[in-house]
């Protein structure tokens, strides 16, 4: 990889927007990895569709981040020319697909959060973020419904599907806390009404998740120790491998178009 990384002026609003854009891109890319591999054709289409929604959200957010930053970065440069330490996505979303249960649990934890988050963000004093939120919440409502139905089907299914779903919950649970964390950079935006405080969504999120998991005859772990780092660029090893694939073409053939 010989193409230089871009430099980003991470003002609070640029950083905020990049964090959400990275969330959408990385999870969308993970879902695209299922293309042609899902357990059945309908699910192959469902995963690709959800990935496409997320990719669309990522593009809107990157474009807005570029506009706010006001340098010569654009959506492609943000996606292709930043390395692992410059990515700001949640650790949960870069976790490998694993088996189907693990992919569904990851998607379920995030979709139930994103749905509440974007609905609340429709009240943002930032008109562009409010508009992106209004589109995203409609899409996430479907992601919530789809993944919730799968959690119940897997948990309340066979012994094998139950065990896999429970194992996925146990392994991914420690990454859910980062969704509700706020740092100083974001606190200022919350005070200004540009962002909303995700911590206020936690009770409702927990209620939804507990309800579906209970119906699925599964259980949430007792531990509440939570792993963080993605928002400040400290990632698991998995993200580097993901970016290696995601960025290989533009890094190998800079400026190539088709």
């Amino acid at each position: 990889m010989t193409v230089a990384n871009i430099q980003v002026s991470e003002t609070p609003l640029v950083l905020y927007t990049l964090r959400r854009a990275d969330d959408a891109l990385i999870l969308g890319h993970r879902l695209s990895e299922w293309c042609g591999h899902a357990p059945m054709m309908e699910e192959d289409m469902a995963l690709a569709n959800m990935g496409l929604d997320l990719l669309g959200q990522a593009r809107e957010l990157y474009s807005y981040a570029a506009k706010v930053e006001g340098r010569d970065n654009d959506e492609d440069k943000f996606a292709y020319l930043r390395d692992v330490r410059q990515y700001r996505n949640l650790l949960l979303l870069e976790q490998p697909n694993g088996d189907f249960a693990r992919t569904m649990v990851r998607q379920f934890f995030y979709a139930t959060f994103a749905d509440l988050y974007w609905r609340a963000m429709m009240r943002s004093t930032d008109a562009t973020l409010a508009a992106i939120a209004a589109k995203s919440e409609k899409e996430s409502a479907y992601h919530v419904r789809h993944t919730s139905e799968w959690i119940v089907r897997l948990g309340d299914g066979t012994e094998e599907s139950h065990a896999r779903a429970q194992s996925a919950i146990d392994e991914l649970w420690a990454f859910t806390g980062e969704m509700f964390a706020v740092d100083d950079s974001e606190r200022g935006l919350i005070d200004a009404g540009i962002a909303i405080d995700p911590a206020t969504l936690h009770p409702q999120w927990l209620k939804t998740v507990t309800g579906v998991v209970g119906e699925a005859t599964l259980a949430l772990p007792k531990n509440d120790w939570m792993q963080q780092g993605g928002r400040s660029g400290r990632h698991s090893e998995h993200l580097g491998h993901l970016l290696g694939e995601l960025q290989s073409m533009p890094r190998t053939f800079p400026g190539a178009t088709w």
Partner: protein, 167 residues
């Protein structure tokens, strides 16, 4: 084509007529006006600007639609039109015209229901088969051949069909 100089009102009218004939590349029986994707046409100093709104954030048809609009306007003798994308207010299937719904049904796609039904978690939906009209149908997949559609099957005539999701 040599055109008489049009005033802004006539130019806007001509541009709207041309743009509103552009069809959705995925559902060619619907125009972008039927869909509610075509939001407005403005004329500034003799230059035409068309505003469209995406159905879904990731809809890959949007680039194609923008290109088709530019071509349609050029064909109507309007030089150098621009197309911009607006996000707000967010597109909803409630904007789909009645004519559009009928055309969808005739094409074999069940038209969308009112948008408040999308939040029904585990909700029972009743979608009529566009082929035989039976209400005895079942959901095969929440996500269909494009972002905006789900896959259903009619239990009466056994035909699978697309349902245009409410949004």
């Amino acid at each position: 084509m040599v055109m008489a100089v049009l005033n802004d009102t006539d130019l806007r009218q001509r541009a709207w007529e041309a743009a509103s004939q552009v069809v959705d590349p995925e559902i060619p029986v619907l125009t972008i006006a039927d869909l509610g994707v075509l939001r407005e046409v403005e004329v500034h100093d003799g230059r035409v600007e068309v505003a469209i709104t995406p159905t879904y954030s990731g809809c890959p048809a949007m680039n194609m639609i923008a290109l088709e609009i530019e071509l349609a306007l050029e064909r109507a003798g309007i030089a150098g039109p621009t197309v911009r994308t607006v996000l707000s207010p967010a597109w909803t299937t409630d904007w789909m015209s009645e004519d559009g719904r009928n055309k969808l049904r005739a094409y074999g796609i069940a038209p969308p229901q009112a948008s408040n039904s999308r939040r029904a978690l585990f909700g029972e939906q009743q979608v009529a088969c566009p082929q035989c009209g039976s209400q005895n149908t079942e959901l095969l997949s929440e996500f269909g051949s494009t972002s905006c559609k789900a896959l259903w099957r009619c239990k009466a005539c056994r035909e699978p069909f697309d349902y245009f999701k409410c949004h």
